[in-house]
């Protein structure tokens, strides 16, 4: 048992923090709210130069070959600084499943472009059903001789406005078990028949409605096996849930630090308000939550890194992150009082991301249910006598 970071990990954390503080100050985050693209291509280029997009891709694909756990730490820093960029989407939602399920040809063609920052990718999973269950996948890909023809609407597709390619989760056959008959297709975002419209989310994070109107996708563009796409979604869900949780952890940590500093500076009744137990216990409660979340996220990330079963822990981490992030923002604002309610205070930028974070890859109820399924099938130790 050892919770120390390696030298490389400490370096990732330090360099990411410095880079993001310089490249992405809060006035830039505010400016990007209004930006059409929603990210800064110049910063994106610098991130690629630092090797971030290929952080855990093998060297043969122009990556750096680090571990999943290291990527978790990088995401934590991005969350701390609320970097608006299609990083999580390109790397977590797309490059990881391509690396796992892609043919060697696809990997050779796609991954180096991702590693070099040339291409932006995203995952088109959810639909107007707004469900992360397999039954929520209704969009059809009808097989013809050479192509699949995609027909239907995907909703809350992040950064589809700037993506070069999409991984589209579609139904290729109707089966009794909703998990079967789902296929993941690699779709060129410029294909005729795709219409993308940005949804005005509070997080200003460029989630889109993507309408597919008889979009032809070559049969060669199936990721993994036809009909077995839900395995890929499960693969993505576990990894992306942890990475999203890490991002939320970074954000929650920063909000806590903001509120804590304010409680030390702000004087009322001739005392710093942090000396009042009502305020102090609020902060202490949040602190305990954030420290717990940190260890839980690290444990889940380590399980993935090590190749151990991770379904239970990843859902535990995301359910916890959902609640802790929300509570930290709310308590942080309360500690600030009226100034916490304004646009000037950076805290609002964090709070505005609450719902985007919470429902990315499943809300608390969804993940609790996944945990419950695991518990139901669990064989208690005391019975194994």
């Amino acid at each position: 048992m050892d919770f120390d970071f390696s030298e490389d990990q400490t370096m990732i954390i330090d360099s990411a923090r410095k880079f993001l503080e310089k490249e992405c100050p809060k006035d830039k985050v505010r400016k990007l709210k209004e930006d059409e693209k929603g990210y800064d291509p110049e910063t994106w280029g610098k991130m690629a130069e630092m090797g971030w997009m290929g952080l855990i891709l093998p060297e043969e694909y122009e990556g750096i070959g680090m571990e999943f756990f290291d990527l978790t730490l990088l995401m934590e820093e991005m969350g701390r600084n609320i970097l608006p960029a299609p990083f999580f989407h390109t790397v977590a939602l797309c490059s990881l499943p391509i690396l796992e399920y892609g043919t060697s040809e696809k990997k050779r063609n796609i991954l180096p472009k991702i590693a070099c920052g040339e291409e932006i990718w995203t995952l088109a999973l959810t639909e107007p059903s707004a469900s992360y269950e397999p039954s929520g996948i209704g969009i059809h890909a009808i097989s013809s001789e050479e192509d699949y023809v995609l027909e239907g609407t995907k909703l809350f597709v992040p950064f589809a406005n700037v993506a070069d390619h999409l991984l589209v989760v579609a139904r290729t056959s109707q089966q009794e078990n909703p998990q079967e008959g789902i296929t993941v297709l690699i779709v060129d975002a410029g294909s005729p028949g795709i219409k993308t419209e940005v949804i005005p989310t509070t997080a200003n994070d460029k989630q889109c409605e993507v309408v597919f109107d008889k979009v032809r996708v070559p049969k060669d563009n199936v990721l993994g096996e036809v009909g077995k796409g839900w395995d890929i979604v499960e693969f993505i869900l576990q990894r992306a849930s942890v990475l999203k949780s890490a991002e939320m952890l970074g954000g929650a940590q920063f909000v806590l630090e903001m509120a804590n500093s304010y409680a030390k500076e702000r004087v009322q009744f001739d005392k710093p308000i942090g000396s009042f137990q009502a305020i102090q216990h609020k902060l202490a409660g949040v602190f305990i939550d954030v420290e717990g979340l940190r260890r839980l996220v690290y444990e889940a990330a380590w399980h993935i890194s090590t190749g151990l079963p991770s379904r239970l822990l990843t859902s535990m981490a995301k359910a916890k992150a959902n609640e802790v992030y929300k509570r930290t923002c709310i308590e942080g604002i309360k500690v600030h009082g009226a100034i916490g309610f304004t646009e000037e205070l950076d805290l609002g930028l964090y709070y505005r991301r609450t719902k985007a974070f919470e429902f990315a890859l499943g809300g608390t109820g969804f993940h609790r249910e996944r945990v419950a399924v695991e518990l139901e099938g669990y064989d208690p130790l005391f019975l194994r006598r």
């Binding site: 048992m1 050892d2 919770f3 120390d4 970071f5 390696s6 990990q9 756990f69 804590n260 409680a263 030390k264 005392k271 710093p272 942090g274 000396s275 009042f276 137990q277 102090q280 216990h281 902060l283 202490a284 409660g285 602190f287 305990i288 420290e291 717990g292 979340l293 260890r295 839980l296 690290y298 444990e299 380590w302 399980h303 890194s305 822990l313 535990m316 359910a319 916890k320 109820g365 609790r368 249910e369 945990v371 419950a372 518990l375 139901e376 669990y378 208690p380 130790l381 005391f382 019975l383 006598r385």
Partner: protein, 399 residues
């Protein structure tokens, strides 16, 4: 980063599991919440303590020269976790014998004290059982304001005063007591000393305090001109506060793991019960179980973090308080959920655990009625939150 235990710890884990299977009755669920209360439970706990001592586990954290095994913090953690999960009774030698009396004596005790008391504790015999007398009617959270006095007279100290909430005083052979030796000290905590008292001495009266469930766990203890040999002073006169704070570091290693192990067992019992009764069909129950399971996993990794910091040589200040607050929060949720799942059956008096309708040996009821005691004992949640704020967040002292 590595969340795996080493081979040595895994081997110990298996050995303890084997011990639990061989030595505890089938279906045994711990009575750790109230083992001091009933004679029968207490005798069983004592018989197990003896067996733990024979294996060298009872005081495994102690150095070999004092009857221990010099076990690593991680081995201690595994032992605490497993002992609690399986409900192995008798692991503490009363209140504090293993956790702080022994370690304090090793650091501050005289050679004579070490020779006399340490083997007694390590042997697991009833003569090695301690109670700890800190709290007084007027000094609870504000412990430095204790009023029980010890006055030196020749080769003796004369102790007068009253202690309260003294758990296991009715079972203990010895009392580890904090008293005022200098009431005029510049600061209240500078006038405190620690003594060893033989509970059979003249001048001690133990009066039971019965909790609202009907258990006899704690007591009031009165001292009337109790004469204690000066050789029973531990460490230096008026240095007691410092000694006690220092000794706290020893129990920290065991507590969080002990709490996690216990909670995990309760959760496992509830999962099994829920499954047996077909209650997993109910979404509300499923989700509440999931939620508690998430909190438990969090508790586990926080407990491990505390041990990890200690293993790196750090002396954790706020972490044990954090872990205590978190444990109280989990106990409350387990108590609420457990009795909700038991439904009508949770009304059965936990003192009647032999009633044919009692479920899970009455353990959920015990937890429900006792969790508040835990939230108050050894530092109320509110006091612990002050410590987390002051030392974890570096906020100004709030009290």
């Amino acid at each position: 980063m590595d969340f795996r235990f080493g081979e040595k710890e895994e081997k110990l884990r298996q050995e303890i599991r084997k011990f639990a299977k061989e030595e505890l009755p089938p279906g045994w669920l711990s009575t750790m919440l109230e083992e001091e209360s009933e004679d029968e439970d207490w005798e069983f706990a004592m018989s197990i303590a003896k067996k733990l001592a024979e294996r060298g586990w009872l005081t495994m954290s102690w150095p070999e020269e004092y009857g221990g095994k010099g076990a690593s913090l991680w081995e201690q953690l595994v032992y605490s976790e497993e002992a609690s999960y399986w409900g192995i009774p008798g692991v503490t030698m009363g209140v504090g014998g293993v956790d702080w009396v022994g370690p304090s004596l090793m650091m501050f005790g005289s050679e004579e004290q070490k020779k006399k008391y340490l083997p007694l504790i390590a042997s697991g015999e009833p003569d090695g059982i301690w109670c700890t007398a800190y709290s007084e009617p007027n000094a609870g959270s504000d412990f430095a304001k204790i009023q029980t006095r010890a006055v030196r007279e020749g080769d003796e100290y004369v102790i007068n005063g009253q202690k309260i909430w003294t758990s296991a005083a009715h079972r203990a052979k010895w009392c580890w007591i904090a008293v005022k030796t200098d009431p005029d000290a510049t600061k209240p905590h500078k006038g405190i000393s620690v003594f060893i008292v033989d509970m059979k001495s003249k001048g001690i009266t133990v009066r039971p305090l019965i909790n609202y469930v009907g258990h006899h766990i704690f007591n009031e203890v009165f001292f009337d001109d109790l004469r204690v040999p000066a050789a029973n002073l531990v460490g230096k006169e008026n240095n007691g506060w410092y000694q006690l704070m220092h000794a706290l570091g020893f129990e920290r290693g065991s507590i969080a793991g002990r709490c996690y192990g216990y909670n995990k067992r309760i959760l496992d019992e509830l999962i099994e019960y829920t499954r047996e009764r077909g209650l997993f069909r109910e979404r509300e129950i499923r989700h509440k179980l999931a939620d508690v399971a998430i909190e438990l996993e969090t508790q586990k990794v926080l407990a491990y973090e505390t041990i990890w910091k200690m293993s790196k040589g750090a002396s954790p200040i706020y972490e044990p308080s954090r872990d205590k607050v978190f444990n109280d929060h989990i106990l409350e949720r387990l108590a609420m959920l457990g009795t909700e799942i038991l439904g009508c059956y949770s009304q059965i008096d936990p003192l009647s655990r032999n009633c044919k309708w009692t479920k899970l040996n009455g353990h959920m009821e015990s937890l429900f009625w006792l969790f508040l005691g835990y939230a108050i004992a050894a530092g109320t949640d509110e006091v612990e939150m002050n410590i987390v704020g002051q030392f974890g967040l570096k906020l100004p002292k709030s009290y």
